[in-house]
Amino acid sequence: MDGRAIRSALSMMDERGSGEGAGYVAYGAFPEFADYYAIHVFFDAIHETKAAVDQELSKWGTIVHEEEIPTYEQQNIRKIHTPWRYFFQPDARLMPRSTTPEDDIIMHLVMKVNTSIPGALVYASGKNIAIFKASGWPEEVADFYRIQDYKGYIWLGHNRYPTNTPGWWGGAHPFNLLHWSVVHNGEITSYGTNRRYIESYGYRCTMFTDTEVVAYLFDLLVRRHHLAPELAVRALAPPFWDEIDRMPGGEAYLNRAIRLTYGPALMNGPFAIVVAKPDAIVGFTDRIKLRPLVTGTMGPRLYISSEEAAIRVMEPEVGDITMPRAGEPVIGRVYS
């Protein structure tokens, strides 16, 4: 499906934003470059900063194709960055001791560019994944990038009411690292703990906002530690000890093990989050559901939203609207 539906969905929830940040992600957006990492960069002064990024990329692999991301002038969007995308093939031989050398090279590049090249921000780095974000209302951002021109099999969208970094494009959701994309409504009160934990594994938080840790935590738990996504959700929003104490032996052991091992990854504070990877999406809330989350299905399609209205505008005949319980993950898998 193309980007029109999600644009209309977000337009139902302008109440939840302030016109200072919105964004979309589409999985499957680059069929012709599907095997290459689509590295998206915001350049501040492209003539000065791009050479350094090119050079860094060339050290680690080959730029197969690159282009400025096409944009279309909108009245309220000031184009303060030049969005650029590289399709990149890392050289696996350069990371010989890793079991996932290509991903590790990309992760290293993202952290390297974002911490050491001022004026360049990598905001997406997955394969066949397009991110569109800017400072503006969701409809304007959609039109700015003409997301109706892209097709995807998973779409996430977000409308931001910034409190931390208004107007900064990098602060708009979705956040992406490798194959992970995250949209988030809320504020993570455990951010200080989560950030320090994830940084001890080599990740660097550079977006000045709490949401990026979610992408990094999923990358660590699922890609690097091989946990199933539902177990990763369990680590981030685990059952209470009282509940664990009442569980039968094996289940109690599993949950205790998760909490002991991944205590610093537990996310506190109000949130509703949807995380996507190429073969699945998962939506969940904090352990006491301080933010709304509703789901609906229609045939093979799963919708997850803050509001039912947004689902109904895309799928007026949607059958089963449900409200998942606090901390309970809603998982949609892609069947090809």
Binding site: S200, H226, F240, L254, A257, L260, T261, L266, L290
Partner: protein
């Protein structure tokens, strides 16, 4: 007569109009300050240590104590304490002994840190209505979890090491039987058992009468090895190797022979009346690898069923030392700050050696994180924790749990007079004299200690709720929720906190 007598430290006055000559002050003062003669209470102020026992017992509020009623000529460098220490040493030629914790007026970092609360963008959580989790597990944790899907069930392949399960992150630190009375230990033991937390035995063995509480006791192995045998190790819920103590880093311990009565002698396994001297180093630990061997030996002896903690004094290089300890089989590192109390320590050590626990915990936590091993080992803070806010702050700086010592004694009546080393504690806490010990009723004192733990736990829940946090692990190391108020930039860098307003 070169030096002559120094001015009295405390001046006691008795309001004879109020006094009804009941004699309670005479009975209660073990320092013989009061005597009843010719129908009047007479006092010898020079003997007073300001323990306040007489004040607490006087039914008529007839007694008053004034500190330093005689002024020395004031001088900013040659303070009263400095001068008196010199008189004392000129007279005796000895090391000055002192009790309780560091008495120098160093600024207290805790008091320059403020906590955060939620407003609007995230809701605070009401602990009366929502669950609030303070449960804490102390011990080795896996660095990652290996799982396998089997018939739809998830199987955990990683095995968990034994951990201590605490219902509140507040434990009572190691104060030995000998340093404190059996009644004091029994009171603490009952309180921690009821509260679902733990206490330390100190290096004084485990008295038989405390066996019923052994599941809540951490047995200590220190350099003197007093009271240590396999029975002792097996009874403890965990074992703690004491390398150093915040009140006196780098030196051993000394229990005067006068405190070694029959019962203490049995529990410590030393002869009656003999001084119990713990050497400065462990005579089998001269390197980090020796420590590792001791940790493993203790684990082997107890069949790897018990967590083993290692306690060090907070010193300049704590971070690197803790990282070394974390690499051994040790389950937790205890960092004892320079404000930690003690029954007796050389004054020069108590006041001048070591660093504050706030800075030590912050640097240890950061070092362990930089090496990717922070969550694998637990971190316990002790030394100078006075209230629930200190607990919250030190956890936010990176600790898993705390030990409190002095605060628990104060809950039993201790007035922090700092005269523990004389063994005459009128509150029945730091003494072995049977008549004094009998003054401490474990029934009541255990309730007082229990109340304190309970009250702090409630306050901690409220502080967490206000910060929008409902699980203690989200407070741990969460320095974003702290701000430094009038702290200098270098110390804020160590603490990794921002200034207020930033």
């Amino acid at each position: 007569m070169t030096i002559g007598s120094v001015p009295v430290k405390f001046r006691i006055s008795v309001d004879h109009d109020q006094c009804m000559l009941c004699g309670r002050c005479v009975e209660n003062c073990p320092y013989d300050v009061f005597r009843l003669e010719n129908g009047k209470i007479h006092v010898n102020s020079r003997k007073c240590v300001a323990c306040h026992r007489c004040i607490a017992m006087c039914p008529r509020d007839a007694i008053n104590i004034r500190e330093r009623p005689v002024d020395y000529r004031s001088h900013p460098v040659w303070t009263t304490e400095t001068r008196e220490a010199i008189y004392n040493q000129a007279r005796t030629g000895k090391i000055i002994l002192a009790g309780m914790g560091n008495a120098k007026p160093y600024p207290i970092i805790f008091d320059s840190l403020v906590l955060d609360a939620c407003q609007v963008t995230n809701p605070s959580i009401d602990p009366l209505r929502e669950p609030m989790e303070l449960r804490t597990y102390l011990g080795k944790k896996p660095s990652r979890l290996e799982t396998r899907q089997r018939d739809g069930d998830v199987e955990v392949l990683t095995s968990l090491s034994p951990n201590l399960q605490l219902e509140t992150p507040i434990m009572i630190g190691h104060m030995s039987y000998g340093a404190i009375s059996l009644n004091a230990q029994a009171s603490i033991a009952r309180a921690v058992s009821d509260a679902g937390t733990f206490m330390g035995t100190g290096e004084g063995g485990l008295h038989q009468s405390l066996y019923p509480y052994q599941d809540h006791m951490i047995v200590q192995v220190a350099s003197g090895r007093f009271g240590v045998d396999i029975n002792y190790l097996e009874r403890g819920a965990a074992i703690e190797i004491k390398i150093g103590q915040g009140a006196k880093p780098g030196i051993g311990g000394h229990l005067p022979g006068e405190k070694v009565c029959e019962d203490v002698s049995c529990t410590r396994m030393i002869p009656v009346g003999s001084d119990a001297i713990s050497p400065a180093p462990h005579h089998d630990i001269y390197s980090i690898e020796d420590l590792k061997q001791l940790v493993r030996s203790l684990k082997e002896a107890t069949e790897w069923k018990k967590p083993v903690f290692v306690k060090i004094a907070a010193v300049h290089n704590s971070a690197a030392i803790a990282a070394g300890i974390a690499r051994s089989a040790a389950d937790a590192v205890v960092i004892d700050g320079f404000r930690g109390g003690t029954g007796a320590a050389p004054r020069v050590f108590r006041d001048h050696v070591g660093i504050p626990v706030e800075a030590a915990i912050a640097s240890v936590d950061a070092k362990l994180r930089s090496q990717g091993i922070r969550n694998e080992v637990s971190l316990i803070a002790s030394g100078g924790i006075r209230e629930s806010a200190d607990v919250a702050k030190v956890i936010a700086l990176g600790a898993d749990a705390v030990y409190i010592g002095t605060a628990a004694l104060v809950a039993m009546g201790c007035r922090v007079c700092g005269t523990c080393y004389r063994g005459l504690c009128p509150w029945g806490i730091a003494t072995q004299r049977p008549d004094l010990v009998a003054r401490l009723d474990p029934e009541i004192a255990s309730r007082n200690v229990g109340n304190l733990i309970h009250a702090w736990t409630l306050e901690l829940s409220e502080l967490m709720g206000a910060a929008g946090i409902n699980s203690i692990e989200s407070l741990r190391g969460n320095r974003d929720r702290l701000r430094g108020y009038l702290l200098d930039e270098s110390i804020m860098k160590v603490l990794d906190v921002r200034p207020v307003g930033a």
